[in-house]
Symmetry: C2
Subunit: 405 residues, 2 copies
């Protein structure tokens, strides 16, 4: 029992932390509560629904099923629900009309087969990527409404009534949802995405800085923590795409127009993921960092640090450009210039590396056999360092490519 | 109009290709159709539901909402739906009982506030990762059932009836879904995952091979195509996790017990993703491959090819081990030994690289200034090649680490 209590306590504590960490999640819960309360009032107050009982329930159901965290998500579900219900309702009425004009014997067969065919086709169409992204929920509701209306039609013979009631209650429910989600502390999928992308870019910039600093031994506890920042960028694709999908449904709000180019955010997200992949590879260089002789490390340290700092400056600057939505700034050109210079500097340092490596044999230079012996060793030791440096250069070039935007 | 027709045509063609490519998706659509037909028959046949009208509809709804592509997904939704309905039903009855024993005036307030509190709390709890993974659908259904039962209780005063009908129709619907999804061409999330992981590993192995082959100019059209294989591994995390989540709900089937260690698949998936990140970085070496002098390429070609072939052999062998579920095999040790030897070979070749690079000055060896001049140039040109090679070695070491399993 004690174990159970402690586990419950841990669970509650975790939930509390989550709420403190992001109070909007708590607010979302309260918003759903408010919307449900309103629907219930509707249910209590209206004498219109007296005796119908089962029908006003659709409004409650709509609220529970349709209410999403972001405005875009709610709108997507609402519009899908409304259009799918309309479409399915009309189709069911039409096919019922056809069926009722045929022999009475065939009626159930026609209805049954039409349900089978439509349900199968719609379910299959959910697998098509375009449909999946935009109309998945609508497909489910289409099947649902079609079967409900056509079944009630056969059974209770008040088909038009059922269709009309379902549509009107669903509209009441969706309107309530849209109003609540848009007026009370709205959480726009668009602005979420708009904040997520620069935040991820900043994380990458920090990771890059910390990674290089740690490689050269300038690490403290905090930097080890923010070094891991790139990891949450690695798998951000799915959430970014969902948000971009939801954002398309949202009306103009804040600085965003209706046809805001959400796709560009996905492109930027893709590029930052590519940088994150590189950093992932870069961070695996840590294993071999102790093999590199100190002298060589010292030789390249300043150039590497410079490059990483200027690269992360470019990323940070890009992040500000994205978050302020300015077309371009003077600063970015300066920073990119800086980065290019840093790349050249590092390349020069790499060029002068052989001098450094061969130095010991300059002093000897007596017999040929020793020469190759002396020069051989360093190169293998230099390799980890060299590949580290060339990864840095690769990151810089990836950043530059994505500058074209 | 013509444009619309061609677009429709393209859409249908795409759908057709999808169906031909993976007929199970088509079968899934048909299965839903069959299940819906059965429920409709139930609705037609039973005199039990005569006049209830609105209630048997729950069975239809359950089928439409609960039926998922995999058995695990269906079971997850079914069990969630049943338990959540039970729990919410009992809770609603209990609170209604308390409310009805208080003053009649307070009754609607008690019910309203309880709906608000429970709905808010449940919605918020959906954000907790554990709950989200296993009980998200259950939470929605809990809110839904609770509000439906408690609202009907206030309104129609046949609360017990509503609760009982809802539970029984939902059980009918879920049973039908479970039977259909498990007996007609079942698609187990577990075996999907079990096939997906080795397939991804094979893709990585092929990509690695093609990547190295292309680097050294042995490319044909087919290899360029399979070179891209690693890309779908990069973002496979979300789908793997969903499948593993669903697989936990599935009963024993085929070679899988009930408590099959699905988490290990996620670990293997993680490791193959790490290899994919490396290959992603590797593939960016193509841009600089033309800078490398032919002589050096030739020198390292055989060792690189060897290493890539032996690494991909290890991956392929691991894939077979995963898919046959043998604990370990003799062959794997041999292949890993091969890979280690290939790493050593490549390292030796890298070691002897300076000889090769410095060769020109061996013949001259007259003045010191030329020496540094001659040795400097090659190193910078060698760098892309060297980092390419060291990335290969890194991939090999990542593969080896994951051997611990």
């Amino acid at each position: 029992v004690i174990q159970f209590v402690t586990r419950m306590w841990m669970f509650l504590k975790k939930a509390w932390d989550l709420g403190v960490d992001d109070p909007r999640k708590l607010i979302h819960g309260l918003k759903l509560g408010v919307a449900l309360m309103f629907v219930s009032f509707f249910y209590y107050m209206r004498p219109l629904y007296d005796g119908v009982g089962g029908s006003a329930i659709w409004a409650v159901m709509t609220v529970v099923l349709v209410f999403e965290y972001t405005v875009g998500g709610t709108l997507y579900k609402c519009l899908n629900r409304i259009f799918a219900t309309f479409l399915a309702g009309f189709l069911a009425l039409g096919i019922h009309w056809i069926a009722s004009h045929s022999s009475h014997k065939f009626e159930p067969y026609i209805m049954g087969i039409s349900i089978f065919v439509l349900a199968s086709a719609t379910t299959f169409s959910k697998f098509i990527p375009v449909v999946k992204a935009r109309f998945e929920y609508g497909c489910t509701i289409f099947i649902l409404t079609y079967s409900l209306v056509s079944l009630s039609g056969y059974r209770v013979d008040h088909l038009l009534n059922v269709a009309h009631e379902r549509v009107s209650t669903i509209i009441i429910g969706t309107c309530l949802c849209i109003i609540t989600s848009m007026l009370i502390f709205p959480i726009w999928a668009g602005s979420e995405l708009h904040h997520l992308i620069p935040r991820n870019m900043d994380k990458i910039a920090k990771s890059l800085d910390c990674c290089v600093a740690e490689y050269f031994g300038h690490n403290d506890e905090e930097s080890t923590k923010s070094l891991q920042g790139y990891k949450c960028v690695l798998n951000s694709k799915a959430s970014e795409e969902t948000m971009a999908n939801f954002a398309r449904w949202e009306p103009a709000h804040g600085n965003f127009n209706f046809r805001h180019p959400w796709k560009n955010y996905l492109k930027i997200g893709m590029s930052s993921r590519r940088c994150a992949y590189c950093i992932e590879t870069l961070s695996s260089c840590f294993d071999s960092k102790n093999q590199v002789p100190e002298s060589i490390k010292k030789h390249l340290e300043s150039a590497c640090m410079n490059l990483s700092i200027s690269s992360s400056n470019v990323i940070k600057e890009l992040a500000t450009i994205v978050s302020t939505m300015t077309r371009s700034s003077v600063k970015i050109n300066v920073v990119v210039e800086d980065m290019k210079n840093a790349v050249l500097e590092l390349q020069n340092d790499l060029k002068s590396l052989p001098d450094l490596v061969i130095q010991p044999h300059d002093q000897k230079d007596k017999n040929e056999a020793i020469l190759s012996d002396v020069t051989i060793m360093p190169l293998l030791e230099v390799i980890p360092m060299v590949s580290f440096a060339s990864l840095l250069i690769e990151i810089a070039s990836r950043i530059e490519e994505d500058m074209v935007n």
